[in-house]
Amino acid sequence: MTTELINTVWYACIYGLMAVPLTLSYRTSKVLNFAHGVYVTIGAYIPVLIAKGFGIKISPILAVSASFATGAIIAMASHTFVFSPLIKKKSTPVTLMIASMGLWIFIKYAFYAVLGTLQKAWMTPIFYTSPNLEIPRLISFMGMDIDAKLILIISLTAATFSLLAFFLTKTKVGMAIRAIADNPELAQITGISRDKTLLVTWAISGGVAAIGGFAWSLFAYVSPETGDNVILQVFACSVIGGLISLPITFVGSVIISSTENLLIVFLNRYLGVELSFRPFLSFFVLLLTILIRPPAGAGGGLPYRYRLRSIFRVFQREVKKNV
């Protein structure tokens, strides 16, 4: 059972690192960002490329900062060149979402092109690989051997989230971000520049997502599809958090991660459910969450009382009319 628990911790950290910035960016800029997966992929790849390019073992601190910087730069570029002009033109959320989809395709294949060229130039396959890190394999702790990477990821997650919390609650810029997120009109009246604040938000969310990518590369190999393959789960975590609350988003990652690592094991062992139902389960949990207790930010729908009874009502009506 320990393996499963350790896996749960891994996944909770990774999903958390990827989902929390997604929630942050949606909450602040109202862009449901499909390009998020690309930030993750590139963040995962940067340490690999540095290590391979210079033929060195890369230290974790350098790797994290390089990932963060790259993710932040790409996210800022997407804001400056795509989202900011679109927001200025008062585009609808759907337009922004599709724009992010276009951006996703563009960056993804641009990155493919870069990787293809590098692979040819370096004469070594980099389409599926992992970074060469300068850390010991095992750390002895109270007589137990613990995977050093596990320690690294837990401390990385803790550090990232405490810094993020500090930044959002204590600093001026962070408070501006929260003000913009909660009430853009009011915040603008009080003299906060929306565009600049959004730029900072994008930098943070892109950077943290890239750190999530790095965390992934500690755990498993990376490929240009890494981000895309985890993005649906990441979205699920964010949706459980209502795309509003950062702490609940992390709770969501814990929920999804335990579903994928504990619940499936339980079902497999006692009910004989096939292992390959794993993605099915995580989406099922998501659906259940939405249906039983719609997350806080899931507004925009009809008045709540209406929703509860309406399905029966609709059925009744249909039956009455058609039978």
Partner: protein
């Protein structure tokens, strides 16, 4: 050199199928504002239903008792597919009807989450439904599980000449497309279309003027999902094969891009989007023929162009290539504004002719005698 006819025969069926899908999505997103990110689920249901029904009926009638995915069954299907025209056609029609009903029913049931959550969440909800369905189909033995199905009998398999066979299928697809287009145009340009647009803008306000929003949404999802299912059935018959791996989320995204690029809330926009997208694929493939030995693979460029195009169009035409127009009902006639577009068009053409005339006059140095031109300012 370039064989336009065979190009059309190969391009139009896929275009037709995608156009039907984007018309359905446009009804849901463009008119009713339901962010359906699980379109592929209904598309897939249609394909699986069509494949399963047709193969099962054929195998039963001809007395074969092989599992649906086994090579024996596939070979047997190949043998009997062209024997009886009436059976092919009737099985095809039956499959389309079943695909419509079952996919529609699924859509109707999925509408439940639409009552509970806002647009952004609705998208993710239906998306997860699509993924769940795909995983489920992989384990669902009757439709071949992970093997999928091969050897779905083409409705015109009894025509020996493949060109005629494919052309007939193409005409059928386009006929269905045109039927769907006409149906949706009639729907859209009626009080019903007006109600849908009001739901898109503000469903609470729409509820407050007596429109039973959940019911309208559920019924629309029934129709649109059902027609997506028909598109899926057409796809299954066109390929002759169905596997769960074909119905991934990327298909939904593609159709979304078509609708948004073409113009939301406009059926012709959706058509245009579908044609632009499926043509773009063909057009950019010329890169591969021209530059076969570059250090960077031209394939990557192709997809990059697609991504960049989406962004650029949204930047400069946020409403899509063809923007939304007020719906046309007879009400406009009462206000005397019915033929307004036509009048505007004629006026625009006249203006262009006028400009051309002036440009020509200016070139050959003749005085036009009217309008503010260079001569006019000189005279003073």
């Amino acid at each position: 050199m370039f064989d336009i006819l065979s190009f059309l025969i190969s391009w139009l069926p896929l275009f037709g199928i995608y156009a039907i899908l984007s018309l359905c999505l446009n009804m849901e997103v463009g008119y009713a504002g339901m962010a359906n990110f699980g379109l592929v689920a209904f598309y897939g249901i249609g394909a699986f239903v069509a494949g399963y029904t047709s193969i099962t009926i054929f195998l039963t009638i001809y007395g074969y008792n092989y599992p649906i995915y086994s090579p024996e069954a596939i070979i047997a299907m190949g043998r009997v597919a062209g024997k009886t025209p009436w059976l092919n056609i009737s099985v095809f029609i039956l499959s389309l009807i079943l695909a419509f009903l079952i996919a529609g029913l699924a859509g109707y049931l999925v509408s439940y989450p639409t009552l509970r959550v806002g647009p952004a969440f609705l998208g993710i909800t239906i998306l997860s439904f699509g993924e769940m369905l795909r995983v489920f189909m992989k384990h669902f033995a009757p439709t071949g599980g992970a093997y999928g199905m091969l050897g779905i009998p083409h409705p015109f398999a009894w025509i020996p000449d493949s060109a005629i066979k494919n052309t007939s299928f193409l005409i059928l697809t386009l006929a269905i497309l045109i039927g769907v287009l006409i149906y949706f145009e009639l729907l859209a340009n009626s009080p019903y279309g007006r109600v849908l647009k009001s739901i898109r803008e503000d469903e609470t306000a729409s509820l407050c003027i007596g429109k039973p929003v959940p019911q309208i949404k559920a019924r629309l999802l029934f129709v649109a999902s059902g027609i997506s299912g028909v598109a899926g059935a057409l796809y299954a018959f066109y390929l002759g094969a169905v596997t769960p791996d074909m119905f991934i989320t990327a298909v939904t995204f593609e159709v979304w891009s078509m609708v948004i690029l073409g113009g939301r809330g406009n059926n012709f926009g959706a058509l245009l989007g579908a044609s632009v997208f499926s043509l773009l694929n063909r057009v950019t493939s010329i890169l591969n023929f021209l530059f076969s030995d570059l250090p960077i693979d031209p394939n990557y460029f192709r997809w990059m162009i697609t991504g960049a195009l989406i962004v650029i169009i949204l930047m400069y035409k946020p409403k899509g290539i063809i923007a939304e127009k007020p719906i046309k009902t007879e009400a406009w006639k009462i206000f005397g504004a019915y033929g307004e577009t036509r009048r505007k068009l004629i006026a625009a053409i006249l203006r262009i002719i006028n400009y051309l005339k002036r440009a020509i006059y200016w070139l050959i140095g003749r005085e036009t005698g009217y309008g503010p031109d260079i001569k006019g300012s000189k005279r003073e």
